[in-house]
Symmetry: C2
């Protein structure tokens, strides 16, 4: 299909993009990304996902205000664990979430048992969404800071009580100077444990 | 690279494979899959993942016994929500987990806050792993049933107290008659909510 790229190219050049230009994202592009998401595995193949797509400017402004409050609470006080490059980029997004032309919330019903393992039924779909965006040259990033205002955002978007948001995924075409490319990561030898875990505690 | 395929082909033909033949999986293949995993996003790019790779036959047998117990407890009593095709396949895996030549546990430290959102820092990596396996023609499936014996399995594999397993990923070359191909999923129109959630409860 159009805009397809090799899988390993997509995986090895996916990175968080947080600065977007003003070009609109078409509904058909959003549908394509969400279709890719739905091809992911989920527990017992139940596919209990939902994706709220926010294009309305006023709603984006309100979400952006919550996101900025969350950003400021978590990262606004100087000391934090982000690298300088990531911090500058994340700070930009903190102030400009509403400028992304489309905001997508990935959601899943928790049915009384919200826990880590439930993520196995929604975050693989989120990763498909992000890889598809990368292949199509559309910027995005997996954010969860908005969870500090989960109650308010669910009310704003009419999300039912038994459904939880798991990611806020802004979409936009990359701003000048922003783009996909190779990433650096911890070497595989540091994260593989052959046969048994090789240290007494996590490190 | 060798064994690369287009991203959308990988996404649209990834499916759970649970029947494997006896061909060994080389360590370099395992390393490649885990390298692909490490290219995924994680919260604040902390990359706090670990992958325990079990090749030892005796250890696989013990894990397989726990897995069979978990399978029997959850799905062994007749009524359940699996389709007949998935049930037959999953039942096979329930009895034959130890026959997969390699078992990989994806892990993450929980640092006191194990919850749904923590999954954002590990399940995208798991999905990269599964897509890479699909591209390389290696069978796998995302399973979490083993979590019923999390304590016992962590002890067996020397996994530290502050680290949680999030997925058991068997690896093997597909058995005759088993293979990747197009999947059916709920239509996108059912899972997209434009601007606001469109029903009062999850359905």
């Amino acid at each position: 299909m159009k805009n397809d790229i090799p899988l390993f190219d997509a995986i090895y050049t996916q990175r968080a993009l947080r600065r977007f230009n003003n070009d609109p994202i078409s509904d058909s592009v959003v549908e394509k990304l969400i279709e890719a998401a739905t091809k992911a595995p989920s527990g017992s193949n139940k596919q209990q996902w939902g994706f709220v797509v926010v294009r309305d400017h006023g709603t984006r402004e309100r979400i952006g205000a919550y996101y900025l409050r969350a950003w400021t609470e978590v990262f606004g006080h100087g000391s934090n664990t982000l690298s300088p490059r990531i911090k500058a980029s994340a700070e930009h997004l903190g102030h400009h979430m509403a400028d992304a032309p489309v905001l997508v919330f990935a959601c899943i019903p928790h049915l009384g048992t919200s826990n880590l393992t439930l993520g196995a039924s929604i975050y693989p779909a989120v990763q498909n969404f992000l890889l598809a965006a990368r292949a199509m040259g559309i910027g995005s990033v997996l954010t969860t800071l908005h969870k500090r205002y989960e109650v308010e955002i669910k009310e704003l978007l009419n999300i039912p009580d038994n459904v939880e948001t798991v990611a806020l995924l802004p979409l936009g075409y990359p701003a000048d100077g922003e783009g996909y490319g190779p990433t650096r990561r911890r070497p595989v030898s540091e994260v593989i444990h052959w046969e048994k875990w090789t240290s007494e505690t996590y490190s």
